[in-house]
Structures are given as C-alpha cells and as structure tokens.
C-alpha cells in the first residue's frame, strides 16, 4: 500500500494533536482556576474616597457595627452610614485632619461621600441581612474579620454554591442572635461550634431556604 501522507505530514499532525490537547487542557485548567468567583471577586478591595479604617474604629476603638450599619438588623440592606454619623465624632475629634476633608465637604454641601461598593449580589438574587443577623449568623461568616481590616476586602465568594453550602449546613455558623456583631464570640466552654449550632438550630427551628424561589423571587 502506498503512503497517503508523507512522514513529515504525520509528524506535523502528531504535533498538532498534542498541541491542541495540551492547550485545551491548560485552557480548561486556567478557566477552572481563574473563572470562579473565588478568583474573580475575592480580594477586591477598592480604594475609598476617605481612608476609613474598620480596624481603627471597630477593632481598636470598639464601636459596634450597629452604630453605623443601622439597617442590618431590621432591613435587607445594612446601609452605609450617612455623613452625619461620621460628624457625630469628627466635629470634635480630628476636626481638621486632611484625611477627613471629603467628609467635611460632604457634610457642608449635603452631597454624599462617593463610597465604592465592595459586596454585591446580582440583581436577580434576593438577599436579606435581617433574616440572617436576627437568626444568629454573624457578620464574620459572610464578611470575614472586618474588625481587622484597614480597608474592607471582599473575603467570601458570594456565589450561589457558597450560599447553599451554608443553607444546607448552617450549624457551624450559628450563634445567639445578640452575638451577631461580636467577632470574639466563642461557643460555651466544652462545646464545639457545630454542636452548639445544632442546638440553636433545633431551638429556633432554623430552616434556611434551599428551593430556588427562596433566593430568586
């Protein structure tokens, strides 16, 4: 039988096939690694117009999250505080710090400080802070250790899989609702977090929604 392809063509074909297979494998690996929200969102820490530090205000000064984020217990949004909340203190404390110039300007003019949004779920997702915080999910479970962040960092992926992981097994993240903003909270001595969480779950009959209409309404 005569050769249909030359040896040279055979070699080229082999190279081509190996090249295509390898590139496809690498491409898939790259997509798998760089595609999901763990890569695309986690670590986002935009530069804010005012160098406001949670580490300073909540970690060192010990101001409660609820002093500023007043909506978190009773509405779906936590609310970024209005400028007046900053001025409660900064009219007297560091009244002429250059870092606060934007805040003073905003207070005088009534225009809001243009804070940059960090966490955001898509518009087709229904999310409600009060449903979580009032039932005893702490800020730390979804935002990380904000009280140690000089700049707020997007620490959790906020993907559907991540929401569902907790909704299927909320035990490890439950605590008494009054401790939701306490970053140093520990379960009572001698009990593990999930063990105590199971007790709370049974006591307050916590059943996070797993059906689609729970979060896509």
């Amino acid at each position: 039988m005569p050769l249909v392809f030359t040896h040279e063509a055979d070699r080229r074909l082999r190279r081509l096939v190996i090249g295509v297979v390898l590139s496809a494998a690498l491409g898939l690996a790259g997509l798998y690694y760089y595609g999901p929200p763990e890569y695309t969102r986690v670590g986002y820490a935009p530069k804010q117009p005012v160098p406001f530090s949670h580490e300073q205000h909540t970690g060192r000064l010990g101001i409660s999250c609820l002093y500023c984020h007043t909506g978190v217990e009773e509405s779906s949004v936590a609310k970024i505080p209005p400028t007046q909340t900053c001025m409660n203190c900064h009219q007297t404390i560091k009244p002429d710090s250059p870092q606060l110039a934007v805040v003073r300007e905003s207070f005088a003019s009534g225009k809001p400080v243009p804070w940059v949004r960090v966490h955001q779920v898509p518009d087709y997702v229904f999310f409600d802070h009060s449903a979580h915080v009032r039932r005893g999910v702490g800020c730390v479970s979804c935002h990380g250790k904000v009280n140690e962040m000089p700049v707020v960092v997007h620490e959790k992926p906020l993907s559907m899989g991540w929401c569902l992981d907790c909704h299927r097994q909320p035990e490890a993240c439950l605590r008494p609702p009054s401790e939701a903003t306490n970053f140093a909270w520990q379960p009572p001595a001698g009990r593990s977090n999930s063990d105590y969480g199971r007790l709370l779950k049974d006591q307050s009959r916590i059943h996070p929604p797993e059906q689609c209409s729970g979060c896509h309404r």
Partner: protein, 218 residues
C-alpha cells in the same frame, strides 16, 4: 515538538504571571465575563443614578408627606394595618413633652424587656462617649472628645425623662442629634436604662438580692 511544548509553557507562564494567585488583594474591579442580568434597570438602595439632579436613587420625601409602609412603624402611616398615630400627635411619645413642661416619667411602661433593649442600644450608641456606666469617660474622651457629660451625676438625676429624650433626638452642645440613628422606641428604652444606671451609682450590697450576691465581681 520542543517548540510546541515551549510555546504552550510560555503562554501558560504569561497567564499565571498576569493573572496572579487566587484571591490576592487588589483594587481592580471584579472581572465580569458575562453580565447576564446582574445589572437590571432598577433602583437599588443607596445607589447612584444620572436621572435625578442630585445623582441618587433614594429620594427625600417631599415636605409634609408621610411614608406608607416600611421598616419603621413608628414613623409611617402603616401597612398593612393603619398606624393610628402616624401624624405623631402624641407629644409625650414623640417629643417628650407634657403640655409645655418636660415629661417627668418614661413614655413607655418600663419592664425588663425594655431595660434589656435599652442596655443593648446604650452600649452601641452612647457608651463610646458617655462610657459604660454613664460617667462621661467613654473611649472617645481619650481621643479628644471634650466636654462629655457625666449623665449619672446629681444634676442629671433631677432631669426629667422628657428632656433626656429631647437631648438624644436633637443634640445638645457638641453632641449631634441621634434621631437619625436611634428609633423613638429605642430612645425611651435607653432612657429607662440610664435611670437604672443612676440607681446603680448609689446602691449598696443590701440592694442586691441575696441569691445574686455571688455573681458580683468587684
């Protein structure tokens, strides 16, 4: 063959160097490959819009109007039930006044639930300046907050509850109004708790119930 492998390896190296490790902190906006319906033409809370002159989606209610429905039952016309007092005509509850004088006692019946709520809210909103015991020595006083009143002293013990309410709502001296932050009901709860703090200043061991004395830590 070698060149093919080398080419692929270089391409992979460039991607890794360019994209970096997972979850690294950066101030670049999250990558969006496909936006689907993530951003719908609707107004979200605290968002921006070019439509209104002031650039905000949240509108200030026109003067003289009352919101209908919402999270704050005290200040709206009510939904689904009608709020009987939506015009805030109750001077005692909304302004701490009894006629022209200050209301002497709390506008709400004081029970342990109200005191607990008051304690929680006091520690959130008041303690940073006035201190956990009301002695005017909160942590802010170490950072240049001057002239913070000791709210449990003699003078304040004689102050009527209505006047406390007025100070919380409208501010006084360097203290800014806390009406935007603290709801009406919570203000009364805080006042009830302040009264408890005042009493605690002059208690003796005899005031503590026998079976609770073991819980004291001096």
């Amino acid at each position: 063959m070698r060149w093919v492998l080398l080419g692929i390896a270089t391409a992979a190296a460039i991607v890794v160097v360019q994209m970096g490790p997972r979850g690294a902190v950066s101030d670049r906006r999250p990558l969006m490959f496909i936006t689907d319906m993530d951003f719908q033409p609707r107004y979200n809370p605290q968002a921006a819009t070019p439509f209104f002159a002031d650039g905000r989606t949240m509108r200030t209610p026109p003067a003289g109007t009352i919101p209908f429905g919402g999270a704050d039952y005290d200040s709206d016309a009510g939904s689904p039930r009608q709020n009987p007092d939506f015009l805030k005509s109750d001077d005692a509850y909304y302004r701490g006044k009894a006629g022209t004088a200050w209301l002497a006692r709390n506008a709400l019946p004081v029970d342990i639930a109200l005191l607990r709520r008051g304690q929680e809210r006091y520690n959130i909103h008041c303690a940073p300046c006035h201190g956990a015991t009301g002695a005017g020595n909160g942590v802010m006083t170490q950072y240049g907050m001057l002239g913070v009143a000791s709210i449990t002293d003699e003078l304040h013990t004689l102050m009527p509850d209505g006047q406390f309410f007025d100070v919380i709502s409208n501010g006084k001296g360097r203290m800014m109004p806390y009406a935007p932050q603290v709801k009406v009901r919570d203000r009364w709860a805080i006042i009830a708790y302040i009264r408890a703090l005042m009493r605690s200043q002059s208690t003796t061991l005899g005031d503590v119930p026998e079976d609770q004395r073991g819980n004291l830590n001096p």
